[in-house]
Amino acid sequence: MSLKKITLDHHEVVCQQGETVLDALLRENIDIPYSCKQGACQSCMLRCLQGTPPVAAQNGLKDVLRQQNHFLACLCYPQQEMVISLSPHADFFTEATVIDKQRLNAETLLLTLHTKEALDYFAGQFVNLKRADGLMRSYSIANNRVHANTLTFHIRRLGGGRFSEWAHQELKIGDTLAVSNPQGLCYYLPNNKEQNMLLVGTGSGLAPLAGIVSEALHHGHHGTIHLFHGSREMDGLYWVEEMQQLARQYPNFHYTPCVSRGDAAVGVALGRANEVAMSILPNLKGWRIYLCGHPDMVNQTKRQVYLQGANLQDIYADAFHVASATLD
């Protein structure tokens, strides 16, 4: 009973009784990263694709990593056969048809796709959208988990952006695209509905955040939820009325649109979204944080929310790195 087969890519290793997965892999000279061998440094984190990792091997990992069967090889004494992987899942694609295209503002398109196969995603995750010629970009899913075959995306037109330009100009209702399996760790799990949540997004960073808010409210999340959406100027904001309407409907949901330049309309804060949020909510001890959008904003705010009391385990972030040059 004590020998367990471990499969990593094309290697098959037998884990002896009392031996960790890390030791078994190293014994077979399989090159995997590791350092402390005691569950602290997390450099030997692997993902289990088949089988379940022992709970003890997930000690100290964030909830979303545990939920996706990540584990630490140095703490893992397998209880069953396991198929494991060093890298995330390879992309698998399903076909999707464009069922709607709408303008959200001058530069952002709301694209709605219907996928052939239902996708098992969490609000806040992203997929890769692939055109027939192979051109591919990552986009966050903007709706909640209830719509298993329907996915919406906010496609921001970027100067020189080949995919976004094409999606805006040429893609038509009825056209098909390939959609990858959902990816990413910045998503909502309904495991602590009391917890207060702060969400800060810039530009089309609103897409995953709107999905997360909708998902949380759908699950009856009753902690306070604060959403700050920032843009440079008024014309970069969108979904203002929809979010305001949601805030009227749910007393625990608060929405603050922010612009960093020019004139702010009534109800819009003047300043960068992250800075406005940090000054309104100085104490974030115990809060869950979601940050999406410009990489500089995401990285700065990550540090700031931590210094204002949030635990690292409660910070979920998705920095939007873009292929083309212009994005503020």
Partner: protein, 126 residues
């Protein structure tokens, strides 16, 4: 149990103590403008995990730290950002005040400081 039969790590409270300490220690380091810029372009979660491994070692806990690893890991900071004794001292200061805030006895704090001090030459590439 007498002091001779428990390790420094056990006396400090093991992993629970490391977790409590990391929370205070890493915030102190990131709030200190003398040293915070060394962490500007690092992944915070990976860094926190490294800090935890470091604290575990300094607390006398199980570890696989080697001098060569420490040297290699900090070499770019020494060369490109001018990491020196001043910065190392600042980190030791935060380590010590962290333990004071957790009400650790002074004799244990001294032992932790001694272990951390033993990495100085490797960290600074001397």
């Amino acid at each position: 149990m007498s002091e001779t039969s428990t390790t420094l790590y056990e006396q400090l409270g093991g992993e629970v103590a490391v977790n409590a300490a990391i929370d205070i220690f890493y915030r102190k380091v990131l709030s200190d403008s003398r040293i915070s810029y060394f962490f500007d372009n690092v992944d915070m979660e990976k860094q926190a995990a490294k800090q935890k491994a470091f604290l575990t070692m300094a607390f006398g806990g199980p570890n696989n730290y080697s001098g060569a690893d420490m040297r290699q890991a900090h070499a770019h900071l020494v060369q490109k950002l001018g990491l020196t004794d001043v910065h190392f001292d600042a980190v030791l200061e935060h380590l010590s005040t962290t333990l004071q805030e957790l009400n650790a006895p002074q004799n244990l704090i001294n032992q932790v400081t001694t272990i951390a001090e033993s990495t100085r030459n490797d960290v600074l590439g001397k």
